[in-house]
């Protein structure tokens, strides 16, 4: 075995093992969503999380991969069915390794939506829009950024996907939840009612699983171990932002509500993780802490904003965590970027990176929101997006699946 083979072998191992860690985030999402919703809907939410990965895998393999990474033009890749065109070798790894790695990222974007639309979405409609997200919506904006498209050419920097993955999922979640409407009993006679989740245990376990999965999500995006220092830095910035997010939310909830809240603090950790994802390769550990702290504060106000002011019912806080902090984290790169070849405003890079980041955020937002509106309204008008009142009150588990989660 020569040195080239060894390098390729090592990098392939790296991509595949981190890809497997990112896959495990599906379990994290499933448990968070189950824990933060009611037990009468548990089978349904678990099922949706299971199927969006299955559908995403096949959909991305059949069509999404080619659209995202095919040469094409700045806006759209190629229709390369069944991922047979090689996009991995140019990166030093086999095509199948790169396909697997990108598949688990695509599935992450798709699964974000199920949380915001939990407890009242029709199962068939969910399967359909999950497929459309993996096949078309995610790959196209993914092509603009990671596929060498127009945003990449502008210098837009989203290392592991605050915008590409999290904000796309987040915007779709926002539009979906808005078009769907709130859960029955959430807003009644001008009052805002809390609908508590059934298990903090599942929720907390889910967040820890997402946290460890993020140690694949961020460092894996180097796609190689040729720069061990960079990889190690990414582990540190990722972890620091998560911890800082948790601490910030702890303090905010303590002061704002009188008692620290576990549910919100769990969201705070996730907010930190989402926010650091764009710039995990380039910010300093100190920068990561600051970004995490801000994310932890932002998520609380975002939840209040959507819950109380705009009255868009988001049972798990998916929009506040993934959409708001995905946007925030991407823009923060324009300020805090220091290493790995780019410089932000705070490190003498001027405003050009910041402007590019903002443009990228807005472009992807417009794309995701636009697609979301078309998709969700189309579903609403045709097969319907929402379950019936009786189904929603008695629980989706019984009516959609005939199978209760708790016996």
């Amino acid at each position: 075995m020569d040195l080239i083979q060894l390098t390729t072998g090592l990098n392939t191992f790296w991509v595949l093992i981190t890809g497997a860690l990112v896959f495990f985030m599906q379990a994290g999402f499933a448990l968070v969503e189950a824990g933060f919703t009611r037990s009468k809907n548990t089978t349904n939410i678990l099922f949706k999380n299971l199927m969006d990965f299955c559908i995403g895998t096949i959909g991305f393999w059949i069509l999404g991969y080619g659209i995202m990474f095919g040469a094409g033009n700045g806006w759209f890749g190629e229709i390369e069915l069944f991922s047979e065109v090689d996009h991995g070798t140019i990166l030093g790894i086999p095509n199948m390794a790169f396909l697997f790695f990108q598949t688990v990222f695509a599935a992450t974007a798709a699964t974000i939506v199920s949380g915001a639309m939990a407890e009242r979405t029709k199962f068939t409609s969910y399967l359909i829009f999950s497929a459309v997200i993996s096949l078309i919506i995610y790959p196209i904006s993914g092509h603009w950024t990671w596929g060498g498209g127009w945003l990449a050419q502008m210098g837009f920097h989203d290392f592991a996907g605050s915008t590409v993955v999290h904000s796309v999922g987040g915007w779709l979640a926002l539009v979906g939840a808005a078009v769907l409407g709130p859960r029955l009993g959430k807003y009644k006679n001008g009052k805002i009612n809390a609908i508590p989740g059934h298990s903090m245990t599942l929720g907390a376990l889910g967040v820890f699983i997402l946290w460890i999965g993020w140690f694949g999500f961020n460092p894996g995006s180097t796609l190689s171990l040729s720069n061990p220092e960079l990889v190690a830095n990414i582990f540190v910035t990722t972890n620091a932002a998560a911890a800082a997010g948790g601490i910030a939310t702890l303090l905010v909830t303590w002061f704002r509500y009188g008692k620290p809240g576990l549910g919100m603090t769990l969201n705070g950790v996730l907010a930190g993780l989402v926010a650091i994802t764009a710039g995990c390769d380039t910010v300093t550990p100190g920068g990561a802490v600051v970004i995490g702290l801000m994310a932890g504060v932002l998520v609380v106000f975002a939840v209040e904003f959507f819950d109380r002011i705009v009255k868009i019912d988001d049972p798990v806080g998916a929009v506040s965590v993934h959409c708001i902090n995905g946007v925030f984290g991407t823009i923060m790169v324009g300020f805090f970027a220091k290493g790995n070849g780019i410089s932000g405003l705070f490190y003498g890079g001027g405003t050009s990176l910041l402007v590019t980041q903002i443009i990228g955020v807005l472009a992807v937002a417009a794309w995701a929101v636009g697609c979301g509106l078309i998709l969700f309204f189309a579903l609403k008008k045709t097969i319907g997006l929402r379950v019936t009142k009786k189904e929603e009150e008695n629980g989706l588990d019984y009516y959609e699946h005939g199978e209760r989660a708790y016996n």
């Binding site: 009993g185 009786k390 009150e393 008695n394 019984y398 699946h401 005939g402 199978e403 209760r404």
Partner: protein
Amino acid sequence: MKKIEAIIRISQFEEVCEALHEVGIDFFTYWDVTGVGNEKSGAIYRATVYETRLIPRRVITFVCRDQFVEAALDAICISARTGELGDGKIFISPIDDSVRIRTGEKGPESLYIKD
């Protein structure tokens, strides 16, 4: 004083609470039960499709003064009714006496807060 015990569908619970509130009943206890009755529900567990006579319901119970019984029964009946098999039952039983633990008051006075 009478004790009213109603077994109702869980999906009707919110409506029943509101209806009771409207006739002046604001204090009651409830718990979830599994019952056996005429209603059968279909279920699937892995490869087995089966019918079960075990059905989830909710029991609401409260003690009220005699003059409220009629209104309370009507309220519960109207709000808990869906017209389908399995709507539930209400049982009325007499109560000998009642005590408020905090003050030691006895009789009908212990059932409500005087303004």
